[in-house]
């Protein structure tokens, strides 16, 4: 299991590298904000650990905060990126090449 996961890790690293290295300077802020939203995926970890039975008030409280943090990261990140990108799109007329 560990070895499989390490293989996934290595491949994902290259996938990320190749995907992102084509992004032009102009879009660096939305890129950062977008990838920022993607690492909000930690919310899955928080849901799994909380959902599969964490006992005790402190554990539960910590995990609720973790779910909250992860959700802020995801929801806020995608929304703010969307707002930014809408502005790039809203260029009135000609936008010949991308």
């Amino acid at each position: 299991m560990l070895v499989t996961n390490l293989a996934i890790l290595a491949l994902a690293g290259f996938a990320g590298y190749l995907t992102i290295s084509k992004v032009p300077n102009t879009l660096h802020t939305p890129l950062m904000s977008g990838t920022n939203a993607v690492h909000g995926i930690v919310v899955l970890g928080a849901i799994i650990v909380l959902g599969l039975g964490a006992d005790g008030a402190l554990n539960k409280a910590l995990l609720v905060i973790a779910v909250m943090f992860g959700t802020i990261n995801v929801v806020g990140g995608f929304l703010v990126t969307d707002r930014m990108l809408e502005m790039f799109k809203s260029k009135p007329k000609e936008e010949v090449e991308a």
């Binding site: 299991m1 300077n25 660096h28 930690v42 849901i47 779910v67």
Partner: protein, 470 residues
């Protein structure tokens, strides 16, 4: 057998949903490579996230529904208004904050894992190692991002804050403490204090690493923290055996690292030297001793307007000062007015202008400046010798000719916009205080340079009024 079989089916179904979700992440991020496809790309990635969360909720045995819902509701209640209402000039601190909470979530998960597994005693060793790595990196990222936020929001002063030469030794010691506590846990110790030691040492380290970093280096720091949170998420994924966490976390880790590297290159500095911090804290006199003879020529909005109205090409160089003054819309108006007078207007964007990569592009896009007018450094540098007026709005270090000529300058070797090659330069600036990095800029004393003091937005507005009157 049947219930068991259905569980297995369920697992496969969940795995398929997970595969769909990370395919959507990658496909969505590919969309971010062009302004046309970017909006859709971001939304596709968001759909991928919805798939991933939905699939996770299907995992057999998931309970505590009320608490999960509570967390999601609270997070939405905080995140949505924050993202909706933030001003475009405040994007860097918003990203820092969102990044920080991600890191915080990682650290909290690791902490609870420790508490519920009697110090990872019930888990394979690798789970302990990856969880502890996640705890350290997540904690550094959480606290570091919060400091970055506070600096950008000007809750804390933007200049470097450090305890001097001992800083690096202290930071190394803190890292050593965190790693030592973690090692003891991996070796089998399960005292709760050890885990708190890990988190606390990493927390102080996160504070200490970002506090000494000056505002001008923020683009690098934010990229770096983003990469760190991604890596810590990937480590959590390995510890929890959750594929989408590994894939998404690692993609962010890789992309953040690329950006960090690009930013550091744009400043001609190494990442370690930036993290070591303290840059720009020293007030350098540069070519010292000639302070007496140097005079600054100041100009008026009316003169500036005349000068630009009769130019054939004007290049506008925006910097952080434009963001602070919220001047982007006024600048767009000015550019329009100049164009109606037959002046060619271009914008020169330095890769590290502002407080995060591409910061100026976002602001100018908000103000509807056409994409074609935004020129990157390499494209515009050859044009300055054909430019009549370079109008510098709240930019400083990225125009500093010392970077080319003065080997003693802290920014020597950094690629800059060669505005000093243009026929004349007008600098809009609040006062003669040196820039964020506290570095002297001989451009301001140049013969071709005229200074227009005041708030950038007000000055741009005045010039525009004068232009209309011409």
């Amino acid at each position: 057998m049947t219930p068991l079989a259905s569980v297995f089916q369920d697992r496969d179904f969940i795995s398929v949903l997970y595969i769909v979700s990370f395919c959507l992440f990658i496909y969505g991020l590919l969309g971010l490579t062009g302004p046309k496809t970017a909006v859709r790309g971001n939304r596709i990635a968001a759909v991928g996230m919805a798939f991933a969360v939905g699939a996770t909720l299907l995992i057999p045995g998931i309970g505590n529904w009320g608490l999960i819902l509570l967390g999601i509701v609270l997070g939405t209640a905080v995140g949505v208004p924050a993202a909706r209402n933030v001003r475009m000039t405040a994007i860097p601190q918003m990203v820092a904050l969102f990044n920080g909470v991600g890191g915080g979530a990682v650290a909290l998960i690791a902490w609870v894992e420790f508490r519920t597994s009697s110090g990872f005693g019930d888990d394979p060793t690798y789970v302990a190692i990856f969880s502890l790595f996640a705890a350290i990196v997540g904690s550094v990222s959480f606290w570091g991002s919060n400091i970055a936020f506070a600096k950008l929001q000007e809750i804390l002063p933007g200049r470097p804050i450090s305890i001097g030469r001992a800083q690096q030794a202290v930071n190394l010691a803190l890292l050593a403490i965190a790693v030592a506590c973690a090692t003891a846990i991996v070796a089998g110790a399960d005292a709760g204090l050890l885990m708190i030691g890990v988190l606390l040492a990493a927390a102080v380290l996160g504070n200490f690493v970002v506090l000494p970093i000056g505002g001008a280096d923020m683009p690098v720091v934010i990229s770096l923290l983003n990469a760190l949170t991604g890596l810590s998420a990937a480590a959590t994924g390995i510890a929890l055996n959750n594929t989408p966490l590994i894939v998404a976390g690692m993609i962010v880790g890789a992309s953040g690292s690329i950006l960090t590297n690009l930013m550091a290159q744009a400043m001609n500095r190494s990442i370690p030297s930036i993290v070591a911090g303290g840059f720009g804290g020293v007030v350098t006199t540069g070519a010292s001793g000639d302070d007496g003879d140097r005079t600054v020529r100041s100009t008026s909005a009316a003169d500036a307007a005349v000068q630009m109205a009769y130019a054939s090409q004007v290049v506008i160089v925006p910097g952080y000062g434009m963001a602070v003054a919220q001047a982007q819309h006024a600048v767009r108006e000015l550019a329009k007015l100049l164009e109606t007078k037959g002046v060619e207007v271009k914008f020169a964007i330095h890769p590290v202008a502002g407080r995060m990569p591409g910061h100026m592009n976002v602001l100018l896009a908000e103000a509807d400046v056409p994409y074609e007018q935004l020129k990157e450094m390499d494209d515009i540098n050859g044009e300055f010798n054909r430019t009549d007026v370079s109008l510098i709005i709240g930019a400083n270090d990225v125009t500093n000719p010392d970077a080319r000529t003065n080997a003693d300058s802290p920014i020597y070797g950094m690629p800059i916009l060669n505005v000093d090659e243009s026929r004349s330069v007008i600098v809009l600036k609040r006062s003669m205080n040196s820039g964020f990095a506290g570095i002297d800029n001989p451009l301001f004393y140049g013969e071709k340079t005229a200074m227009l003091f005041g708030d950038a937005k007000a000055s741009v507005g005045e010039i525009a009024e004068e232009l209309k009157a011409l």
